[in-house]
């Protein structure tokens, strides 16, 4: 594996209910290398396997066969505990549904991620405050998710994803629940994080427009990568 690669997937297949009548081959022999500092968009219609691929890269899901390497660590033989550690240290997730904890404030939502990974409450909250300032929510620290707009909730989710200084930020349709204008703002924020802070970003979407922000666009259909487009301009640092 090249030093440049922050994430690598080799011959990944994912089969649900193998050997049964209901067997579904979601991914078929997928090969993928993602460079450090890249902004990748995985594009495909629903049911194409793009979310499964994202879950596998994010160590939430184990592939049926194949090898996944994250920041130089082969994840195939890791146990649940070690995978959790990789998720905590190297990966930040952003979801379409935001998935914030409804009873916790913006600040607590962001801080929780750090506390899970061993930071003290004070330490975590101090950093959470900084991150929320950075995503433009400095005035919303003590708001509950229900008191925030969709765009604001997604900003909290981005701050949360950044909390543990991950190597990769994974987004599953992060703009799917937002109106176009707000969606663009979120994408711009992610683009800034990519450009200015060098975060590697991988977004899964069926929205063509998102591809405009990406340096690499991976087209996936029926569990197979059919095309990878690499743009030259706008690479990270």
């Amino acid at each position: 594996m090249s030093k440049e690669h922050i994430a690598e997937a080799k011959n990944i297949t994912k089969v649900y209910n193998p050997g049964m009548e209901s067997e579904v081959r979601v991914l078929k022999d997928v090969d993928l290398s993602i460079n450090k500092g890249d902004f990748v968009s995985i594009l495909g219609p629903s049911g194409s396997g793009k979310t499964t691929l994202l879950d596998i890269i994010g160590c939430l899901l184990k592939p049926t066969t194949g090898k996944v390497v994250i920041d130089g660590i082969e994840t195939n033989n890791l146990n649940d505990r070690e995978l959790a550690k990789i998720r905590g240290e190297k990966i930040g997730f952003i979801f379409q549904q935001y998935n914030l904890i409804s009873s916790s404030t913006a600040l607590e939502n962001v801080a929780l991620t750090m506390r899970i990974n061993g930071k003290s409450k004070n330490e975590a909250e101090e950093r959470a405050r900084k991150l929320l300032h950075m995503v433009g929510l400095g005035e919303r620290l003590t708001h509950l998710p229900s008191q925030l707009s969709g765009g604001e909730q997604q900003r909290v989710a981005i701050a949360r994803a950044l909390a543990n200084e991950p190597k990769i930020i994974l987004g599953d349709e992060p703009t799917g629940n937002l109106d176009t204008k707000t969606g663009m703002k979120i994408l711009n924020l992610l683009k800034d994080l990519n450009k200015e802070k060098g975060y590697t970003i991988i977004l899964v979407t069926h929205d063509q427009r998102i591809s405009g922000f990406a340096n690499t666009v991976i087209n996936i259909r029926d569990g197979e990568i059919i095309k990878i487009i690499k743009k030259r301009k706008g690479r990270g640092k």
């Binding site: 649940d80 550690k85 240290e89 549904q97 009873s103 929780l112 899970i116 409450k121 543990n164």
Partner: protein
């Protein structure tokens, strides 16, 4: 993350309140009933104090100490036989007459007829007179009384106390001893007692050995000498009483425990629901690095917290109930929440929380983050 656990159980306030209430009822029952059992234990042990180091001889088959030796008739001849046994310091025959019985409170007063020169064997050597004086040899028609009885009936030295239509002059009042039968006792010469009961036998005989270590041996000798008699030592009685009290303890704990276990099922139910509701959240926790074990611990902490809150409130309410019971029985039974009982109650609550939380916590820990995150 205890603060998070607190926060989480506060989310569904009504549900948490009801769940806590289930534990409160169970633990309060354990504490209240248990304190009653402890109270009975303390009371009985206190009642046994006067016979410490002595042997109590009664007729076989008669009622025991607690029932005032109904039907025990020991004759002078039998007493002479006992006196013939070696190693005795003294032999003190006596009889009892139980006054008015009050339901739940026991006798209001007890008359003890005793050889007045040996009255101190019953009252205790170190007990001082609160007022008046002790008996002098050969006196009849007079009584000394306990402090409780004096206070209850507003009696003073020089007043008369009526037993079965006979009036007895009160010559002395003992200080408070905290031994039930002395404080509510009326002590009279055995001769007067014999007249009163129209008999010349005795209900029981105190046998005082010269050497306390020989108590058990002498008790055996007495029973060998006269098969009509039963000689009981304090140790033996205490053992028997302990067995009974232990049974009461187990029974009262059992009743409370049933209630508490039902409360524990409530905890389990609540936690299963909470885990269902928070699937996504658990998925997020896992996505950001929480291990199965952390999730399991979090849920266990919450269920233990609910149970412990219930446990402490239950303990408090149980103690209140215990004071209430003491009041209700007029102090006849002083319900006591011993540290052991309190610790048992809290420990039991904690255990219920852990056991009740184990299954939901295990389920939460095993949740597949991918499924949990996409759960609608």
């Amino acid at each position: 993350m205890l603060d998070l656990a607190f926060k989480n159980i506060k989310r569904q306030k009504t549900r948490t309140f009801l769940t806590v209430l289930g534990i409160v009822i169970g633990i309060a029952a354990i504490v209240a009933l248990g304190s009653f059992a402890e109270g009975i234990n303390i009371m009985v042990q206190e009642e046994l104090e006067p016979i410490a180091g002595k042997i109590m001889v009664i007729q076989k088959g008669s009622g025991g100490y607690m029932t005032g030796f109904q039907g025990s008739d020991i004759t002078d001849e039998q007493i002479e036989n006992i006196k013939s046994i070696a190693g005795l310091e003294d032999v003190v025959p006596m009889s009892m007459y139980i006054g008015k019985m009050v339901p739940m409170r026991g006798p209001e007063w007890v008359v003890i007829g005793i050889d007045i020169t040996k009255g101190r064997y019953f009252v205790g050597e170190n007990i001082e007179m609160h007022d008046g004086r002790d008996f002098v040899e050969g006196e009849t028609g007079v009584v000394t009384i306990g402090k409780t009885i004096a206070d209850r009936y507003n009696l003073e030295v020089g007043d008369y106390f009526t037993v079965k239509n006979d009036d007895f002059e009160i010559i002395g009042i003992y200080e408070l001893t905290n031994v039930g039968d002395v404080d509510t006792g009326i002590i009279m010469p055995i001769e007067d007692m014999h007249n009163l009961l129209d008999t010349d036998t005795y209900q029981m005989v105190f046998v005082i050995p010269e050497d306390v270590r020989e108590t058990e041996i002498i008790a055996e000798k007495i029973e060998d000498e006269d098969e009509m008699l039963s000689a009981v030592t304090e140790k033996e009685m205490s053992r028997e009483v302990s067995q009974v009290v232990d049974q009461i303890r187990i029974m009262t704990f059992g009743i409370g425990a049933i209630a508490a276990v039902v409360g524990g099922l409530g905890v389990m139910n609540t936690m299963i629901m909470a885990v269902m509701e928070r699937r996504r959240e658990i998925g997020v926790m896992k996505a950001v690095g929480a291990t199965n074990r952390m999730v399991l611990q979090q849920i266990l902490t919450e269920s233990a917290l609910i149970s412990l809150i219930g446990g402490f409130i239950g303990l408090f309410l149980g103690m209140l109930a215990s004071f209430g019971m003491t009041g209700f029985t007029g102090g006849f039974v002083t319900a006591a929440v011993t540290p052991l009982l309190a610790a048992t109650a809290i420990g039991f609550a904690f255990l219920l929380g852990i056991i009740g939380g184990l299954y939901p916590a295990w389920k939460a820990g095993k949740l597949d983050p991918v499924e949990a995150l996409r759960y609608e």
